[in-house]
Symmetry: C2
Subunit: 458 residues, 2 copies
């Protein structure tokens, strides 16, 4: 009898997690990964730090090399091989060897689509210019860093004002490049409330970053075949000898859609909690899919490596005959820009409003360490709770330290369905170097708890 | 009609929290605090940093001065006034003015006993020597630091191997004093498992601290009226020109006991969840009481400032006619010694054994940041879960960074009754400067989850 064969389409976070999990549970299965780029299992989130030269070599960004999977995990990894077609009727995929250009057809018993996402490029024609970059594959980062080292650009334009833009603004600045961010919306960081974005704006300004809002790039200008700047929709011009397009990402789902796999309105591949698609034996995981947002009670497209890993493992387990489910996310994300840590979990006030949720909210400022301990600084906490029940729905934080893991405390509390009252009762750790005796987490919950209660009484 | 009068006995964490909360809810109440020392509302936990001169002045350790409470909160604060007797039959207390020695009797309607704790002193006769210190009141810290500055001791002996001893070993070292720790038990840090204590021992050794275990001080030696060292029970001698007695603390409950208030076997004052004692209108809070340990399902004496603040607020609210309850603790505590962060929550393996709990446990080492991010270091996580249900019962962590707030995530999960499986599903924040994509919290839970499951199947 022939061994069952799993084909994995795309070998980054979800794909390699899925392949590894399936292998762990099933020694007999044949597992093949096709990855269109030259690397598997690389740390996409590490690329800004490679560009900033905090990380010296691209190899440092790999979790494992392809050889590791081949030799240690008996997973057939084909680099520079792109799956171009999925044919569910015959349970086959068509694969192009990007080196030779040759195509070959492979049969599968189970298929895991982990094709990830690609940057949304507002002006595709502009990307032919030298000096205009996206950042998705490790090759993109290598090219971008190479350009910085050889061309020594002095003025950078970042299109988009999301997390990657914030991280890359820091990276460019550390590489000696003066940065301008152009965001088409009236405010950067659309997934956060104004109390947070105000402070990020201030931090960017303090670090010499210019932020232009409610405007977009109409076209690039060039000198030779190199970018020299951009003309914005408003008519304003921006000089730039390096451009990063960081205007969000879109799921790579067209091939799945063409194969008849059902897609969601966002373009993400629809799956159930087992990560199986609408077509039997075809699973999907990672940035090409969405995730159930537990607070909103519906799917949301929040592509993140942490989610991709979890979804990949669930898919791998089910492909191997197991019975795992992916419970969902609560919308946690964090980033660092210059000297600030920024994080959110659950929903923002903006989301509470757009979702017509009856909410209470509060913003507090507190200290990151005991008031007398050297290095103490301020952190800001904003909470959103259900007005009737006091149940915590969301948290946002910003400060120089101690933000990320406190966001995790809130994420855990949200997942557990805790009320702000219950959060005030948490037995959290205290020592002067790490926080004040009344931790910002507790103080924020206490303040909001009064508000929930008072407003309920009134 | 006369206003109701609240008398608070002891004005540190629990006392001032209680007084403040009662005032907030009841403008009409007369509130008087008697504090036997010269300071209220000081940060006991900050004293090691004052000794280490990271904090310059004792005033920096005050949250508020007595004048603040008098002027801003209309709370009558009497410093250097010691309550010497509680007379429930007449609802009065006897108060001694420690300046004049005069005694006076005050009536109360409600009484809050927040007398705190005092260091356990194994050899009381030794404390008369110059150079032998305890650390409890701010005056103790001032005297200790004054001695260091004037006498420039070079060899320090710390009696006891708990948290304070660990913090003070660092403080003494930073003051240029070579430290010897003498612990009467076979291991330091009795509230932690050996995987943690091993690493603390290593860190102490690396920093030149000598640790002597299973031994105790039989007597001090002296030169003039100054301490010159100690003779241990084993006969070994230790040279020391400064000694800190940090061998644990005992609740200050004798006066309450004499008044007929019921005490627990530990000596802690017994209260209900409203922080009311066995005698009506007498409340108690803080280090003179115990707390319900939610994992053990019974009271435990874990005197900490965080708990004292929460208990004080609950007592204050109920004194003011409210209906608050103190839910309990999960045994969270954290400290820093030299370059290590150390923390625990829930129960240890030792406790699981002594409580006859059917448990599974696991120890993992993982990284504190993305593997490629500068400054990455190792953290160790040890978890204990119920073997049948997988419910998390305890967590311990040690490492150079990122320990304390991850302990808080575990504390929150324990409070919520989460299983290790549910912890693996948590949507925690990820960015390379703050952790690896698979956070140590998740990895530890994943590993233990397999063990729970596998062992259940076997």
């Amino acid at each position: 009898m022939k061994n069952e064969r799993l084909i994995v389409v795309g070998g980054v976070a979800a794909g390699m997690s899925g392949a590894s999990r399936a292998r762990k549970l099933r020694r007999d299965m044949e597992i093949i990964v096709f990855e269109k780029s030259g690397y598997v299992s690389y740390a996409m989130c590490g690329m800004p730090y490679f560009v900033a030269d905090k990380v010296k070599t691209p190899e440092s960004l790999l979790f494992y090399e392809a050889g590791f999977f081949r030799e240690k995990r008996n997973i057939g990894v084909f680099l520079n091989h792109e799956v171009t077609q999925i044919l569910p009727a015959t349970k086959t995929v068509v694969v192009e060897d990007r080196g030779s250009g040759k195509e070959q057809t492979y049969e599968y018993d189970k298929l895991l689509i982990s094709t990830g996402a690609r940057p949304f490029v507002p002006i595709p024609e502009g990307t032919v210019l030298r000096g205009v970059f996206i950042l998705r594959q490790l090759e993109d980062a290598i090219a971008l860093k190479g350009y910085i080292l050889s061309e020594k650009p002095v003025a950078g334009l970042i299109i988009g004002g999301g997390y990657i833009a914030m991280e890359m603004a820091e990276a460019f600045s550390q590489a000696g490049i003066k940065v301008t961010v152009v965001e088409k919306m009236p405010e950067i960081l659309g997934t956060m409330d104004k109390e947070i974005t105000e402070r990020v704006n201030e931090e960017l300004r303090r670090n010499g970053v210019t932020v232009i809002k409610s405007d977009s790039v109409a076209r690039f200008t060039e000198r030779g075949s190199r970018v020299s700047g951009a003309v914005l929709s408003s008519g304003q011009t921006v000089a730039a000898d390096i451009v990063l397009i960081g205007a969000g990402i879109r799921p790579n789902s067209e091939m799945a859609g063409d194969a008849g796999v059902r897609l969601e309105p966002t373009g993400a591949i629809e799956t159930d909690a087992k990560m199986e698609t609408s077509i039997p034996d075809i699973f999907a995981a990672g940035d090409c899919t969405s995730a159930h947002q537990l607070v909103l009670g519906r799917n949301a497209y929040v592509p993140l490596g942490t989610t991709a890993n979890k979804q990949g493992r669930v898919a791998g387990e089910n492909i191997a005959g197991g019975d795992a489910t992916f419970k969902g996310i609560v919308g946690t994300s964090v980033f660092k820009t210059f000297d600030l840590e920024v994080g959110r979990t659950g929903i923002t006030e903006k989301e509470a409003i757009s979702e017509h949720i009856d909410y209470a909210t509060n913003v507090i400022e507190h200290i990151s360490r005991a008031h007398y301990y050297p290095g103490v600084s301020k952190v800001l906490v904003k909470l959103v709770a259900a007005k009737e029940t006091g149940r915590l729905l969301g948290a946002q934080m910003i400060g120089k330290e101690g933000v990320v893991r406190r966001i995790d405390v809130f994420a855990t509390a949200i997942t557990a369905g805790m009320s702000v009252q219950e959060i005030t009762e948490l037995d959290l750790g205290y020592a002067p170097p790490f926080g004040p005796v009344n931790d910002p987490v507790l103080v924020a919950a206490e303040q909001l708890q009064k508000k929930v209660r008072q407003e309920k009484v009134a």
